[in-house]
Amino acid sequence: MTKVAASVTALLEAVLFVANEPLGVARLAQIIEHEEATVQQGLRELGESLAGRGLQLTELDGQYRLVTTPAADGPVRRYLQAEARAELSRPALETLAIVAYRGPVTRAQLDELRGVASETMLRNLLQRGLIAEKGAAEEPGHPTLYGVSQTFLQHFGLGSLSELPPLPEADSTEAAPA
């Protein structure tokens, strides 16, 4: 175990960075294992230390979260739009295809089918809005299930997944190595 005592401020920043929800003082105190008063103080200091940076700490109803500053809106929007418009890589396309034909699937099922870790692909597709979370699987740990999104169906003009084209014959594709 590294014993480099990270400052409370640093711990708060790290936790808020990975959190995908606003967090309250009590919860943060539990996570970083410090007194609530210390957390309060740490949040204040974190907010101050962020001045002039690309991130800021926002608070609403006692819930804290880390977000980008308004000054960075332009670049952030540009990044997200370019990201969504960019062509899908072959692995991403394959992942999407599996989710469409086989979905809803868990990440573990995808990993197994593709033989490689699919986490990055999944995040990429989620960010593009092509797939969405579809509840939890009824198995130990209740992993998240992924399926294609409404946006996906609209994009392809599909009423439902049953309208997906049948699979190309395995032989014919094999015969044409292109």
Binding site: M1, T2, A14, F17, V18, A19, N20, V76, R77, L80, Q81, A84, R85, A86, E87, L88, R90, L93, E94, T95, L96, A97, I98, A100, Y101, L113, R114, G115, R123, L126, Q127, R128, G129, L130, T151, H155, F156, L164, P165, P166, L167, P168, A170, T173, E174
Partner: protein, 229 residues
């Protein structure tokens, strides 16, 4: 110390050799093949008893050690060859040792990981442009994914695992029928590994006093026969 053996999780042959070298407190640059070979072969045998498969690489290193050791028994010209072979082994072992130490350092580092931000930031749906994509492309991608998912034929080192015990048993059966030419035995083997194991088995039986090898003249066939006593 127990060796955990599972397919694909081998401590490789060099790992075992290095462990023995360290246990005998020899510098990697000056290992004594005479002292280490027996211990190494002992290790392989225990691996074999634990039912480990794919022992080929272990046996190959064993055969190499035996070869280097045997060079000492031969006339003077082989002294240089022995020195060369030994130096080559030392070099490999040294390099391997460096990476093994690096692996230990790496292991110590793993106390603290970094984490990325799993949060997905998204624009509102109406702001989201979509990539150019057609349904046939999608169907084809799925077919491709399925093809790749089919289990790849495993590269097998050996159709059937060669066990030294089995080969020793085979040798004993042949011996019971009387002397035979070494060549006839080797003709029946298909794999390099099987030849190595046969070689090891013969050495073992010779040591146990069950077998002897004779040669009538320099180019005469090598005969394998039951030991006379």
């Amino acid at each position: 110390m127990s060796l955990a053996v599972s397919v694909g999780e081998f401590e490789g042959p060099l790992g075992i050799l290095l462990e023995l070298v360290e246990r005998n407190q020899m510098p990697v640059t000056e290992i004594s093949v005479a002292a280490i070979t027996a211990q190494y072969l002992e290790r392989i045998r225990s691996l074999e008893q634990q039912g480990a498969e794919q022992l080929s690489e272990f046996l190959q290193l064993g055969a190499r050690l035996l070869y280097i050791k045997s060079l000492a028994l031969l006339p003077r010209e082989s002294a240089q060859e022995q020195a060369d072979e030994l130096q080559q082994l030392n070099l490999e072992l040294e390099e391997y040792q460096r990476y093994q130490q690096a692996a230990r350092q790496l292991g110590r580092l793993s106390a603290g990981a970094s984490w990325t931000r799993p949060t997905v930031t998204r624009l509102e749906p109406h702001e989201l442009p979509l990539p150019q994509l057609t349904l046939p492309q999608l169907a084809e991608a799925f077919a491709r994914a399925l093809r790749q998912a089919e289990p790849q034929p495993k590269r097998q080192l050996l159709a059937t695992p060669v066990s030294q015990a089995a080969i020793m048993a085979r040798l004993r059966r042949r011996l019971a029928e009387g002397p035979f030419e070494l060549q006839s035995l080797l003709d029946a083997t298909r794999h390099r590994l099987e030849i190595i194991v046969t070689f090891l088995a013969m050495l073992e039986l010779t040591r146990a006093g069950e077998l002897q090898v004779t040669q009538g003249g320099q180019f005469a066939p090598i005969m394998v026969e039951p030991a006379h006593d």
